[in-house]
Symmetry: C2
Subunit: 292 residues, 2 copies
């Protein structure tokens, strides 16, 4: 799907913006590379103050017709969807005509898990003449690479916990569960399902405070990786300073992510937060290429 890259690079990039700092991080990175950027902030999620820095067209989550109209008018073919959208209910959506036509299909997509929903949305964009790019394709700087990021190093035991977590995420992939687990001392302490990583960490912290889960302080690794079949263009897992704070509050030793498969809006800020909190952050390469 990237064979058109050379021909669309001169065209403006459409960024459909959910919440959080990722949309502007991607916009800034694309703009720095010399590309014109047009934002399509989602009402109710996007950060209005930050959006003003770029040409933009506000839209509802279910206003696909409106998006198509303005994106074509702006000459955009490449589209990035980025930022948090807490799973909406069908009732929250106020579909425009372009969306209404797709509604039976979207309702079917909602019946599956996140994967199903997100890759289905990707296909719909493609069928309407757009090319859906991963945020990391438009802004490679947001990808976390292999290696240790900050000043704290994982112990061999932490690395073993990280490997176990990555294997577990791979095993649960077919079930479209979450993208994060916590492993400490070879024991699986938490598995993310529908609650999200922050909530999983908050719950683990509460359980440890209450003495419901016991393991030594500063042990345990938060592991994040995409599900094996995940559409990387729509939904790469992400971490940020909030993740570091959550992992620290849960008493963990650090964070391990699948290298080149997890994004962060501002790596320098992430590293600063991890260094201050005393946590390691590592990108772990594919199993076949790992040393030791």
């Amino acid at each position: 799907m990237n064979d058109a890259g050379a021909t669309t690079a001169g065209e403006p990039l459409a960024i459909i913006c959910g919440g959080g700092s990722f949309p502007l991080a991607v916009a800034d990175a694309a703009a720095r590379s010399g590309r014109r950027v047009v934002l399509f902030p989602l009402k109710g999620w996007a950060d209005a103050a930050a959006i003003k820095r770029y040409p933009h067209h506000w839209m509802g989550l279910a206003q696909f017709g409106r998006f198509c109209r303005f994106a074509r008018q702006e000459g955009c073919r490449d589209v990035v969807i980025i930022g948090g959208v807490i799973r909406p209910t069908p009732l929250q959506l106020r579909p425009d005509l372009g969306t209404l036509r797709l509604l039976p299909r979207i309702v079917r997509l909602f019946r599956g898990g996140d994967d199903h929903l997100l890759s289905g949305i990707g296909r719909i964009f493609e069928e309407h003449g757009f090319r859906l790019l991963g945020a990391h394709e438009a802004a490679p700087a947001i990808l976390i690479r292999e290696g240790t990021l900050g000043q704290h190093q994982p112990t061999p035991r932490d690395v073993a916990d990280a490997e176990r977590g990555l294997a577990l995420i791979a095993a649960i992939g077919p079930f479209d569960v979450g993208q994060a687990v916590v492993v400490g001392g070879n024991r699986v302490l938490a598995v993310e399902a529908a609650e999200g990583t922050d909530e999983m960490l908050a719950h683990l912290a509460a359980l440890r405070r209450a003495g419901r889960i016991r393991h030594p302080a500063k042990t345990g690794v938060l592991v994040k990786a995409p599900k094996p079949e995940q559409d990387r263009r729509v939904d790469l897992p992400s971490i940020g300073t909030g993740t570091v704070a959550g992992a620290a509050a849960a008493g963990l030793a650090g964070i391990a992510v699948a290298a080149d498969n997890v994004i962060t809006a501002d790596i320098a800020e992430l590293v600063r937060a991890a260094d201050v909190a005393g946590l390691f952050v590592i990108g772990v390469g594919p199993a076949g290429e790992r040393t030791g």
Copy 2:
């Protein structure tokens, strides 16, 4: 390991009793079958009032030497370990001499997950001349059989959710994670890790109340099954009226368990609670034998 069954059936049965109502349910069932019962209640966990109904010797969790002495004195060879023991820390244990000798080995067991710990304990009993029986072997009435237990029936969609949950538990088996998941509308809503089923359900209920997880009321199935490699003699998963209350509070439609692999202390009480709460309870047979 059951070839000695005929020769030991006349000997008294030793029951090491943790918390909850299971120990007495097993004792009553064994006593009803005409067998003499000697209880070994664990200080801090067993129900002191109920224990009095049978000959008993209180012991600390780490008093293996004391157990061996009294069990041999009583002429017991068959041992059942049953009831809740919230994962203790090594500091909580006050080992006697018999335990101290095994301590390096037990510390190693503690480094693994529950499976590792529990099957290791099973081996230790065997090596000391005891025969470890599953509670369901001494008291088959506690096993939940295949079929619908109460007056409420699962819908075909509930059955599909149950099947998905059973497949997920099988897939995470090698990671020694929990024995329970919640699946609703084909979506995995929660995966038990170290927190236990009740806490998983309480957390899910809280997330739904807060609008953090949205799915229609009265959908979703709590699914429980042993891990594939689990030592069924020491740690069959269990449900009870508390599980029914937790599932109801989480807005679920019902409970599905792997038939003949999950125990309950009092089936009549379980069915009553489920009927009142409007939940179905089903035992699901092995995949190969399922109809539809």
